[in-house]
Symmetry: D2
Subunit: 222 residues, 4 copies
């Protein structure tokens, strides 16, 4: 079985803010290395520098704006993520949906400054559309399963297979992840068996009583 | 003459990002102390931790979202700013306007976590409305003068006087700043003479060829 | 007891769309005249012309954009509402919140073309802020009671009294309405007894099995 | 030469509001019939009923929201457009950009109520993405040419050809229009020669001193 990619989104959880962002990221680094899984952490913008200074695994932003500098007070400049030590970004997460033209502009701007991009999508049609914009990854997440504890890779394997088929037709260079409801190693395994490169998850780790134990469980099948 | 408050907004200027955010902030700290002016810097979200670790003057966010935690991927949690070393935030900047109900919610959330608030407004009517929401400061900035190099304190003293009168009637605890087109010490002096507590500026310092020289000029009249 | 103002918001209810918008508006006209209540209907934008051609009571838009013409495809020009026979508009409804600066701009633009304005607000602080912008009316509607069937005028009389006190201090020319959970004549009566000029309601009439009967009930206490 | 499709967007131009919307639409109907061109008019929401009652050519909305009814005060219900006599809608116009997931939802909702859809896009990548969502039409409009008077079909034929190629690969059932800077018959002819089904234009007709003369010019080459 190939090395899975596991992206952990810290959202704006209080449990994954500040010191705790650093602590969970260190656990992810250690456990990923031990198990042979590629871990990526997505802390809040204000925590990127602190986390990236503390770990050597990739640190992604949760969102960047389609801007290259100038007068955009209060927005997230892709370059600022790069300068803070980040190496990629989620784009169009279900809690931070973007306009179509802005997704395209973000992908272009992220490429210019050297950030890897993961466009989140909600169904096969929007996954297809997202792949036409040439991100590095698309991550399909059915909104009804986000935060549900019901893993997409088991509850709706057809959306994962359908997304993979659609992406292959439109832009085979784009890699496919899946997310929503993922919290156990079995869920990750099911995702890989469907052909996904890996998973995107959040509460299953960040809001776990013991995030390190949750991370260990995620890679236990390897 | 009382000690003026000078808030420097780094916007998403490339010239005020990363290392340069730290460098300008150190200049602001040193020059403010020397001249007896209170300097506050507003770097980008990803730079707050780095800047706050390097200087002891207040570091403000440019924007925070009206949230207290949870599932708000890609948004700015007020607590994350506090945890990163920030002590306040701009609210409703002309480049990041908020819904009225969200301004109110941000003010309440910022108070809970201990962040000072500065609501930006664009005319006397919206300054009045903003003051009814009980922020620490309102900063009136006529949009047509932002980035113009024409200082509001000289070009439109009536908007500053009118804002001060309106705020006094509605909520006399709220302090009034002014901004837009400020770049020289004379502009700051004019603002103080109108009764403002200080000024909000951006390009005049951050995009100056020599930000330290620009900062020295700003406090030269003291 | 003074003549109450009753504003009926058709939202995007299928039950209040097209022919049914005309039918409910005719009932409102007839029942309001009979009982000595001032009825105002707020159909969807596409129904304003049809409704305004069929009744002589005021027809308000549910929303207009802060524009005076030009290149704003897909937005609602205040003048277009006036030309279609409308005479006013809701502003900043809880389902269509606006930025503070845009509320101010809408009020100014609506005045220019002769539309009456009703700013909706969600608590005493935002009602105060709204009144500083000099609309004709503010309508305070606690979001937690909207669509609840629990009338604000009975469940939270303090928010109505507090709003009236705040508005009187800031801008006594502004009249105060209340809304959320209103569906019976008793609720309207309670609102008037608290000093409100009238009420804003939606589902209580538009989604009633018999809208005419619901309207009759609303004015039954007169 | 095949019968071209000419879509006229009235934007929020004062010159295309109310009575004038009806007048321009009648001219479009008459001139289109005479020349053998299919004309479609897109008046403001408040004018759809009035225009659709006056002409028999298709009347499209400029925008609809991704909703099927319920509590969405101030939004545009697709059904309300249909009930007012409309038969289609623009989607994601450059002045009313939508989130990717909302474009998908609008397409689905419009199909349910029987509205034809035209997704506007700004470059080849977003045209490709739009076609993956299966609208009836995509209309590529480079933003820098909108309102410029420089016709896309002459200034940037590659974007039209590239869009057509991309759409053919992804979803050959989707028809391609182009827009931006179109104002003369020559521009329409050039668009058809590139393989487009027709054009989308606005100011060239609606803000013309004599809209009927402008319409005649558009079809003069037929």
């Amino acid at each position: 079985m190939k090395k899975p990619l596991i992206i952990i989104n810290f959202k704006t959880y209080v449990e994954g803010c500040g010191d705790m962002a650093v602590s969970i990221s260190k656990s992810a680094e250690k456990i990923g290395e031990g198990a042979g899984a590629e871990m990526i952490v997505c802390p809040q913008a204000a925590d990127i520098y602190r986390v990236a200074s503390a770990v050597s695994i990739p640190v992604f932003a949760q969102h960047v704006d389609p801007i290259s500098g100038g007068s955009s007070t209060g927005h997230i400049l892709p370059l600022s993520v790069k300068e803070a030590g980040g190496s990629g970004t989620l784009v169009n997460h279900s809690e931070r949906r973007l306009k179509l033209a802005d997704i395209d502009a973000v992908i272009n701007e992220a490429k210019k400054v050297g950030l890897t991009t993961v466009i989140c999508s909600n169904n096969i049609a929007t996954t297809s559309a997202a792949s036409a914009l040439s991100p590095d990854y698309v991550a399909v997440e059915p909104p009804e399963l986000i935060g549900s504890g019901i893993p997409v890779s088991k509850a709706n394997p057809d959306i994962v297979r359908g997304s993979m088929g659609a992406v292959k037709n439109i832009n085979p260079d784009v890699k496919v992840l899946c997310g929503a409801g993922i919290s156990r190693g079995d869920d990750v395994k099911a995702a890989l068996e469907l052909g996904a490169e890996g998973v995107l998850l959040a509460s299953g780790v960040v809001k776990a009583k013991d995030p390190a134990a949750a991370l260990l469980d995620l890679v236990g099948f390897l």
